[in-house]
């Protein structure tokens, strides 16, 4: 464990925690402008969080400790993921603690906590959102692991830091067909995991079409603030991970000094900004898919992942 790695880890957790609402705000602003609205400004999510945190907490009748604990578990796992993934530095001291499979598992733990909270309310909407969320999460799983498989084969490691570090050392790998296929597959995964269009509409107001929002209908005040913030952290971390897996340049490593870490921070912030703007821009032109069309999208991305693995094998195999 290097001091630079530890400093980088603290830096990326702090930056994600502070910057995640801004990413969401920025995406909303881009959408608003493209749709011809003025928009609320990129700092609006932070203003919302501040307001929510000052509000009274309301406990829905009949809920148990699961409902109360779920936001904390969601936020806790999201922060841990923010500490593990190579966003600012590839040398996070937590990198050997959790590899790609563990990170995917932690994401799922957060999702499960929220679905249980949705069921715990005992309303039709809570159960509906939980059922849909779990269905999507179950079908996303094969894609993300197979795409991760494709990425870890050339590096002989599934630890994210090592994958990113290896890509920095061998830039040609990014342009390989395997990496591109894996990128496409993972991009679909990020969209599905974070509940963006076309899988889920984060801006919907109609309960019957909701997925993520239906589970959290009963949350108010500080708990709602925590959930919104954790969801933003997940989106930001996944975008940063996607960016660094395929465009790793600028990321700091174990030998970086203060300047290296700052460069790493600026680089990842810039990359996340670009990815977020592109994602928001694409969303303007998309409508939400019917729930039962989502499996087709995910099956397609699974096939891309599978192709990524087989190409990485056949292109790597001599002769």
């Amino acid at each position: 464990m290097s001091a630079a790695g530890a400093a980088g880890m603290v830096l990326q957790v702090a930056a994600t925690a502070a910057g995640a609402p801004l990413v969401v705000g920025g995406m909303r602003q881009v959408r608003a402008r493209l749709e011809g609205r003025a928009g609320a400004g990129w700092a609006q999510p932070w203003r919302d969080l501040r307001k929510q945190l000052g509000k009274q907490r309301i406990d829905p009748a009949g809920t148990t400790v699961v409902f109360a604990a779920a936001p904390f578990l969601l936020a806790g796992t999201s922060l841990l993921i923010a500490a593990i993934v190579p966003a600012v530095t590839t040398a996070s001291p937590l990198d050997p603690v959790g590899d790609l499979f563990a990170v995917v598992g932690l994401l799922l733990v957060g999702t499960v906590a929220l679905t249980l909270a949705g069921i715990d309310t005992g309303t039709a909407f809570g159960g509906m959102g939980a059922s849909r969320e779990v269905t999507i999460a179950a079908l996303v799983e094969p894609t993300v692991l197979v795409a991760g498989f494709a990425l870890s084969v050339p590096v002989h490691s599934s630890n994210l830091g090592e994958i990113v570090a290896a890509t920095v050392g061998d830039p040609g790998r990014v342009a390989s067909p395997a990496a591109m296929l894996a990128f496409a597959a993972l991009a679909v995964v990020v969209v599905a995991e974070t509940g963006r269009l076309p899988v889920d509409n984060p801006a919907t107001h109609l309960e019957l079409t909701m997925v993520h929002e239906a589970m959290i209908l009963e949350y108010t005040g500080p708990r709602l603030a925590l959930i919104e913030w954790a969801a933003a952290v997940r989106l930001t971390v996944l975008l940063a991970l996607l960016a660094n897996l395929f465009v790793p340049w600028g990321v700091a490593d174990a030998g970086s000094g203060t300047v290296g870490l700052l460069v790493g921070l600026l680089a990842v912030a810039g990359k996340v900004l670009v990815f977020a703007v592109v994602l928001a821009g694409v969303e303007v032109f998309l409508a939400k898919l019917r729930l039962f069309r989502v499996p087709e999208l995910l099956a397609g991305s699974f096939l891309l992942g599978l192709l990524a693995v087989t190409t990485s094998y056949f292109l790597a195999a001599p002769g």
């Binding site: 009274q56 009748a61 904390f72 069921i119 039709a124 159960g127 179950a138």
Partner: protein, 669 residues
Amino acid sequence: MSGPVLAAVLAAVTVLACLAVLAAPSRALPSVAGAGAGVVGAVGVVYGVAAISGGLAPVSVGWLVPLAGLRLAADATSGLFMVVTGAVGVVVGIYTAGYAAHGHMGRTPLSVLPLFLACMLGVPLADSVTTFLFLWELMALSSLLLVLAEARRREVRDAGVWCAAMTHLGFVAVLVGLVVFAAAAGAEGFPELSASAASLSPATRSAVFLLTVAGFGSKAGLVPLHAWLPRAHPEAPGPVSALMSAAMVNLGIYGILRVDVTLLGPGPRWWGLALLAAGAVTAVYGVLQAAVATDLKRLLAYSTSENMGLICVALGTAMLLTASGIPAVAAVAMTAALVHLVGHAAFKSLGFLAAGAVAAATGLRDLDAFGGLAPRMPTTTAAFGIAALGASGLPLGCGFVGEWLLLQSLVHALPAGGTMVALVMPLTVGVVALTTGLGTAAMVKAFGVGFLARPRSAEAERASEVGRAMAVGMGLAALACGVLAVAPAVLAPALSRVLPELPAGAGTPQPRLGALLRLPGVGGSMSPALLALGVAAGVLLAFGATQWRARRRPAPRTAELWACGGGALTARMQYTATSFAEPLQRVFDGVLRPDVELAVTHYSQAPYLVAKVTYRSRLRDTVETSLYTPVIRAVAAAARIARRAHMGSIHAYLAYGAAGLIVALLVAR
């Protein structure tokens, strides 16, 4: 203690326990039965630990089994299975003391319980074909008696018939396979078989492999031989289901490990591929059925089938990699199989004990009638929550380490395996991932719909917490789950002795299950303990963050739920287990093939107006209906034809006897 002493103690304790249960006064029956099973289990744990430590001399008792004699030997592999079985036995024993006090189990099943446990402890000890088959059959018969504990109900009798038929078909396959093996090798002791296995013809070896895998697979619940498992395990009383699902199915894996991997192996590559394919199909099919099941115990039974499938995937991978000459990764796959086996025993025994506790408190098994148990049965709810976390294979649960190891072995098998491996491994990763995802869905459904929200029936409304003995039993199992989840290092000493005995692990560096899991030849690491600490730290940080502006908040208050302004919600408006699984059922419609009946009645005067819509959807096991029904029908038809020969005339029967005698004489001449 030496081998003979331990074997004698185990036999004596078993006999004493059975007799004590038969002789105990009615009031003391639950405690005596619980203590009996617990002591047998404890002896099994001691025996197993001694076996893992090594140096136990083989036991041979010539007079006990006619012609062949009883031969027992314990190596570390046997020891591991004995420790697992014994530990499940201890937990189940304590739990039974409380469960039987509810009057759910009669004297006969309680007296069979120690015998069943002892047979399961004995199977891994067997060192010759005769001894193995003898103990295997005794185990099957005693399990059948236990399944039939509530034989007054029709479903139980049906389950008993399925269990008996499938168990014995499996037994026949194992019997024929082992007899062919012994005949070809000219000896029946396991050491002799092992020595001469390599000199057998490939056709004989493959035949033995297929027969024994089919037989052992039916015990482990591999598709398509799983049909008895989701019938028999749910119909047995709670403690028995726990023993069957957490200990008995393991012995199917033990059979494959002992006979096919160790004695016959290392085999050609297609053996590994065949086992892998069977495991993969089982895992996906089992988890899919679990995801749409509405009976809690049936769900758990299908999940057992799923996990045995995953273990077979790991075993198959290990065999394939051994045959392909990648021993280091093969050792990882074998470790994955063993770690997952132990983890599964922990969380599945806990799951069935908690399900049994709910059944004892409410008389219910149907998830659609559950709900609201968390405030009424907090201990049971917590226990089931821990079990469900383990069963879903998520981090912080005790199923995660095994699945992580399996994924690592699959990922790192690629470079040296050839085209076949390159195609099989990513698909298998997809299968394992889909299994994890659907398993999570199944467990969210079981825990969320079953224990959270509001009661959907009067029985669930009236539920109350179970007694202390059952709580202690579940607590011990939960403790085991917790330890295995964060500190798999406790398994390291045992595994370091087991692996060298298996072809996959001999002569290679072993995976290091320390605080940080490090694997030889694999650049991947993970630390379950630090992950748990990290989540805890993250939760604390999040809690700290919500303290911002906490002072100016008004005091929290309780409010009604959002009902779209339509008045109060009732419990009927909640999602049920069926509705929760509906999206998955629709996605996998082609595999599950539900029977759907939709009848729309129109008004006679106005045909465009609908008067009534009737909708009924029923899910059955597709494999069972499409594979077993024709077979059963054919057998019944054959029986009808055979019945014609039995016309009740004594002359005809005498003629049959004479004809039979003549044929026998002609053949024997």
